[in-house]
Each structure stands twice: as C-alpha cells, then as structure tokens.
C-alpha cells in the first residue's frame, strides 16, 4: 500500500447573520452559489471594489471531482483573478488527445501546437481543489462576504430591486439587493423559485464516472476509446488528475440501473477489465449520470442574471460546462461594475445576455454533435459513426470527422453590439470580439502580454508614442482606458521580445487594439485617433446607444 496525499475536505463555518436579530440589509450584488461560477463572479466584482454577498446552502466544496478539465481561457481568467498560478501548478497540464477504435489508435490531436503561450491548453484538477482555491481568494478580499448554509427560499423582483428570503439553521430572514446573480448549478433552486425553465434535449444514455487512486505511468493525455476490447460496444474516457487520481468514464447505455452500477461489485470488474487484475487501485468516488443540452431563453430577467449551469447545460464531452460558466462570470463582472457605479446604462447587461447566449448556443451545438457521434440515436447514425471510425485508420480525411468531444475554446463574440466594426484591413485571428491572444513579452507586470491586459479597458499601441495629453484624456474619462505601448525597442512599456505580439495581432507600426476589461478585442485601427478610441469605449459600454 502506498500512502497517498488525501484532500482534506474543508468545512466553512456557519455564522448567525445579524438580520436574524433585527438588522436590515440592502446589497448591491448578491451571488447565489459558491461554486466555480459564483466565486469567480464574486472575486471579479470584489477586485473592482464592489461589495458582494455570496449565499451557499452548503458549507464545503464539491463532493467528488466533477468538472476536471479547465481550459487555457479559464486559466487566463483565473490569472486576472489571482488564482491562475495556484490552479495551474496544482493541476496536470495536457494538450494531446488520443482516440482509439477497438484496440487501435484512430486519431490523435494536439490542442496547443504553437509555443508562446503562458498557459497550457488544459489542466486537469478536481473541482473541489478549484473551489477551495477560489474560496481562499474570495475570503482574502475585504469586499466579499461568504455566508455558508444560507439557502434562498423565496425570490421576488421588480424594476427597483430583488427581495430574497433566506433560510439558515437559526431561522429565516429577508434581504434586498440591486442585482441578483444566480449561479446555483444545474438544478438551480432559484430558477425554479422564479418558475423559469430551460429548453433543449435530454439524451437517452447513461455514463459511469469513477475516480480511482492508483500509481501509474500513463502519460497526461486525454484518452478516449470507441468499442474497446475491455468494454465492447460502448465508449470509455480516461483523464489524469493530481494526487494520483484518475477519472474513468464508462458509457453504459440507457438501460443501465444507476443504483446498481455505482456499487463496487459492479464497478470493479469494469476497472479490472480495463486496467488488468494485478493493477492496484482504490475507488474514491463514483457516480452515474445522464446529460442534457439545454438553456434558458434569457440569461437576464430584469434584475436577475443567470450564469453557468443554472443558465445552460451541455454534455461533458468537450469540457464546455464549467469553462463556459467561468466565461459567463468574466463577461458579467465588468459590466455589472459599470452599471452599479451608474457609469453605464442597465442595457449594458443585455449584452451579457446576447453574448453569452451566443456562446451557450455554440457550446450546445458542439456538445450535441459530439453526443450524436458518441451516442448514436438510430441504426443509420450508428452505421455512419462506425464507417467514420473504420475509415479513420487508413484515411486522414476521416480522422477529422471522429468526434469524441470538441474541446472548449472561448467564443469569438463576432456579432456583439459592443464591437466597433473594422474600417481598416487586418490579417489574423484578432478580429473584434476575439479573446486576446497571449504572447511572451518583457514588461512591468510580467513576462506575458495578458499580464498587462484586462481589468480595465486597455489600448494596445504598436511602435508609436501616444501624446501625454491623449493618454490623460483616455485615462481620465468616465470609463478609464489605459494606453499600453508595445514595441520592439526599449521605449515601449511592453517589449515584444520575440516579435510574437506583432505577428499574432498583425501589429504594423501605428496599429491600435482596444481591449475590453475581459480581454476581448472590441475595436482596432491602423492609426491612433483619440476621438475614435473614446467612441469605441463608449460603444463597448452601451453608453449613448439605444
């Protein structure tokens, strides 16, 4: 027996709230749910100096590993929130995926084939580790207050505010807030209290997740099998997590009995068939799940905003659940801040609805396509799937049709009303709406471009000097915009040491990129013009638009 590091499950203390003893409380923002999405939202707002009250009906982190694959974009967001390093160093980085058919390799992909990025394509990390890290960060910020074992049991909202009734072990109390952010997960009690529904598909298939502890020298890759000899006619997925924990995901079919299949006597033979009877392992957690691809019709309902699984659900193939939820929070934080401060109109929050519904639809589309491949719904669908897999061994074209999950990439917000359309000609991927590409630099805030971008609006300027008056004008507006000089010489604040920034941004001399506080490009020009920059900032904040 090898001694292995075990996760010490934290218990966060319940405290009797002053409202039970007569105090009255009105908050700017209340977040419901202290999972990855709620905590990310709270940290983002607190970093902006906005007081946030977080209510959670539990007093600990997630049970079981649950969401385990965190994408590069999520890590970049976590960097901005002060948690990126802890999560990346604890997690297992990977970028290679292998797909097997039977016992043969059918297809292999590399999600990050180019260098010059701070963060890896993915890290695997148990959700409880991520949550513990986020709780620590949130608790270190004076503007956040986390209330454990506080369950929302009543919600009402009108044009003025949101009224909540909250149950605690000591009784119930009332609370009001300007804005309610609902991040209480797939079952979303608050969504049910508001009698709001999600629309979409439920898939008729069941999967067994087993987290096992074992010492193995399998590489840190995503491995997926269609019809392997050890689990015929079904699929299997294997992921490595930290602490010698491995995630195995067995497709079981619709007829499987969830209660029976989580019993050790049913799980062990499956694992022995896969790993060999002599491999020593122990089961840490097991669960049988079905999945759905659904979303709410609107993520903004007046003063109530929905984020993460409460708003949209996808199948797990593609890691598009938690990752898209964190991007929801990233999209919402700066907008809610500007609205709470009275700088931007409430209609800015409609862009949250617009942009994140577009993202949810993209995730649902990709996840549904993967599911149609993994779980064929008809005989002909199964035939084409098997035809693709059999062709993939010999023909490269067929490998691109194999779909074991199209892994999470951030939405390019091409159709966002917040973008200023291009008037100049550019090459490359950094179109208005794109999340900013990272690149190695030498600069005051670190060795990566993304260390210098985000939080506020930033104007990236290539190889020219913006006059001090113009810089002051941009920095001193209602919505401040920092000017960041990028170049290949020492005069630049951020030195493009390898020329990769210029290459990724088509950054010829004079080029300017306007980045939103969430690091998405929203405008770009070939020449600097202070009035155009100010107009683009206003547009990105829905100021002066109807």
């Amino acid at each position: 027996m090898t001694a292995m590091a075990r996760f010490a499950v934290p218990v966060y203390p319940y405290r009797r709230p002053p409202e039970l003893d007569g105090a009255r409380r009105h908050c700017g923002v209340v977040v419901v749910g202290a999972g990855p999405v709620g905590l990310t939202t709270a940290i983002d707002l607190a970093q902006r100096g906005i007081s946030v009250l977080v209510l959670d009906d539990d007093n600990t982190v997630s049970v079981g590993s649950r969401a385990i694959c965190y994408a590069k974009r999520t890590l970049e967001i976590l960097d901005r929130l002060g948690c990126g390093e802890a999560v990346t160093s604890k997690g297992v980085g990977w970028s290679v995926g292998k797909v097997y058919h039977g016992d043969q390799l059918a297809y292999q992909f590399d999600l990050l084939s180019e260098s010059g990025h701070h963060r890896p394509a993915f890290v695997n990390l148990q959700q409880y580790h991520l949550e513990a890290c986020l709780v620590n960060r949130a608790q270190s910020l004076p503007a956040t207050e986390l209330r454990w074992r506080h369950r929302v049991v009543g919600v009402a909202h009108d044009d003025e505010n949101v009224a909540l009734r909250v149950a605690t072990p000591d009784g119930e109390y009332d609370l009001t807030c300007d804005w309610l952010v609902v991040c209480d997960g797939a079952r979303s009690p608050v969504r049910h209290l508001l009698r709001l529904d999600t629309e979409g598909q439920i898939f008729r298939d069941r999967f067994l997740i087993a987290d096992i502890r074992m010492t193995s020298d399998f590489p840190a890759e995503r491995r997926f099998w269609f019809d392997p000899p050890f689990h015929p006619n079904q699929s299997v997925l294997l992921h490595r997590q930290p602490d010698n924990v491995w995630r195995v995901d067995f497709q079981l079919g619709w007829e499987a009995d969830p209660d029976e299949e989580t019993k050790p006597e049913r799980i062990l033979p499956r694992l022995h068939a896969m790993l060999g009877t002599e491999t020593h392992f122990e089961i840490e957690w097991a669960s049988v799940y079905t999945f759905q691809c659904r979303r709410m019709q609107k993520f903004r309902q007046g003063r109530v905003l929905f984020a993460g699984d409460a708003a949209h659900l996808v199948s797990p193939f593609g890691a598009r659940g938690a990752n898209s939820g964190v991007q929801d929070a990233d999209n919402l934080g700066w907008k809610l801040d500007l609205v709470l401060r009275g700088i931007a109109p409430e209609t800015l929050l409609d862009s949250y609805n617009h942009e994140r519904i577009a993202a949810a639809d993209e995730n649902i589309r990709n996840s549904t396509r993967s599911t149609d491949f993994i779980t064929p719904k008809s005989a002909v669908s199964r035939t084409f799937r098997d035809a693709v897999l059999s062709l993939a061994r010999d023909y490269p074209f067929a490998r691109r049709l194999v779909n074991s999950g199209r892994l999470s990439v951030p939405m390019v917000l091409t159709d966002s009303p917040l973008n200023t359309p291009d008037v100049d000609v550019f090459a490359g991927a950094m179109v208005p709406g794109a999340p900013a590409a990272d690149a190695p630099v030498a600069g005051p805030d670190g060795g990566w471009l993304l260390d210098h971008v985000g939080g506020t609006f930033v104007l990236l300027v290539f190889d020219i000097d913006v006059a001090a008056d113009d810089m002051r004008a941009l920095a001193g507006g209602d919505v401040p915009c920092r000017v960041l000089h990028v170049g290949g010489n020492d005069r630049a604040v951020v030195c493009d040491i390898d020329g990769i920034v210029a290459a990724r941004y088509d950054g010829a001399r004079g080029t300017c990129y306007l980045m939103r506080p969430d690091q998405h490009v929203c405008a770009r020009w070939r020449e600097f013009d202070v009035s155009r920059v100010r107009a683009a900032v206003a547009r990105a904040c829905a100021i002066g638009t109807t």
């Binding site: 035939t383 084409f384 098997d386 035809a387 059999s390 062709l391 023909y395 067929a398």
Partner: protein, 70 residues
C-alpha cells in the same frame, strides 16, 4: 452545382461494379460499405453546397416535399 447530367462513361460497367462491391456481404456489412462509400465520395467532392444539393435530391425522391426536414 450538382451535376445530374449523364457523367459516367460506361453506366453498365459502373452498375455492375457497384453490385460487385457488395458480393458475399451480409446486410449489415453492405450497410457499412455503403456508408464508407458515401463518406469517401463526399470527401472527394468536398464542396459543401454540392453535397447539400445531393443530400436534398436523395431525400426528396423518398419523402414528399412537405415532410422533408430542413
């Protein structure tokens, strides 16, 4: 645009080869071979508009206009 004019030089030779492709196969094997053939030819064609036109023409001959899914 999908070419539906006669384009096969020796039609009877082609048809004989098509049937020969299925010789000695079970129904399940034949179904799989047909699917593989469709995928190989689709990749050869490549053009998404032509493929869509061909799929619509194939389906239209089997189901009535009203019940054709979009």
């Amino acid at each position: 645009m999908l070419n539906t004019d006669p384009n096969i030089a020796v039609p009877d030779d082609f048809y004989e080869a098509l049937l020969a492709m299925h010789r000695d196969l079970t129904d399940a094997q034949s179904t799989l071979v047909n699917a593989r053939l469709i995928l190989l030819l689709a990749n050869h064609v490549g053009d998404a508009a032509v493929l869509r036109e061909a799929m619509e023409a194939a389906r239209a001959g089997v189901v009535t206009q009203a019940s054709t899914a979009t």
